[in-house]
């Protein structure tokens, strides 16, 4: 019991929840079809207005809200997709699209540091389960799922398609080492 109490206190202090996101999209552009697969990072935080906000870390330039963490993720996912569509609209070639999507993904801000701090705070809680509404969320190790984005041209002559190419949208709590 003596060893558990400090962990519970630490858990209460965690306001920024480190999230790992996985998203897969197919995007049509000017004369090309692209597959975009993202393994990213985000922070989930309940703001003073009571809403849950999902703030992008990788990619950083995006945010969305919801009355629940699931709604915040779904709206974040939709805004991300719309951002890809906007980039496609403004790109004359696949190469331009790929370069801009990669710039969008890799350009960071101060939330990257906040995410790392939040992960350390969560890990200090050890095996104490995260509080609701995160207690039912899948947990993943960021070391096993590094942040990355893949932008692939799909409309190539010799491109082969397989069911294992499919990516399920997912968000998970970053936790175990």
């Amino acid at each position: 019991m003596l060893t558990t109490e400090p962990k519970v206190e630490q858990k209460a202090e965690v306001k920024n929840h480190p999230i790992i996101i996985t998203l897969g999209d197919t995007v049509s552009g000017a004369g090309f079809l692209a597959g975009v697969t993202l393994s990213g990072r985000a922070l989930m935080r309940q703001e003073d207005d009571g809403k849950w906000w999902m703030y992008g870390v990788r990619p950083a330039a995006i945010a969305e809200s919801g009355t629940t963490i699931d709604e915040a993720f779904l709206r974040f996912r939709q805004r991300y997709k719309e951002t890809l569509f906007d980039i496609a609209q403004e790109s004359r070639t696949f190469e331009e699209f790929k370069a801009e999507v990669e710039r969008f993904f890799y350009e960071s801000d101060q939330d990257e540091q906040v995410w790392e701090t939040a992960l350390r705070a969560v890990r200090k809680c050890g095996d104490v389960p995260p509080p609701p509404p995160f207690s039912n969320l899948k947990r993943e190790s960021p070391e096993l799922r590094p942040s990355a984005i893949g932008v692939e041209r799909l409309d190539r002559e010799n491109k082969r398609f397989t069911p294992s190419d499919n990516v399920t949208d997912n968000f998970a709590m970053a936790q175990a080492a």
Partner: protein
């Protein structure tokens, strides 16, 4: 109802706190450029939830004190 600010107030904040910024409309969002960085996901609505503005201010490295002065974060 979530806290929000009118886009006109956001523009006033950018005029004061992010001199040299530009913005344009894309199909789904507003695109704001400042500090050689591009913020692509500002909603197109007239009223914008403060969380979006807070994130844009952090991302574009706009002075938080200056933005707070305008009451939009």
């Amino acid at each position: 109802m979530s806290a929000s600010a009118a886009f006109a107030d956001v523009k006033r904040m950018l005029d004061d706190c992010a001199k040299g910024y530009t913005w344009r409309l894309a199909n789904h969002s507003r695109v704001v450029i400042y500090n050689k960085k591009v913020y692509r996901s500002l909603p197109k609505f007239d009223d914008i939830e403060l969380g979006h503005i807070r994130k844009m201010v952090r991302y574009l490295e706009i002075s938080q004190d200056c933005a707070k002065k305008h009451g939009v974060i």
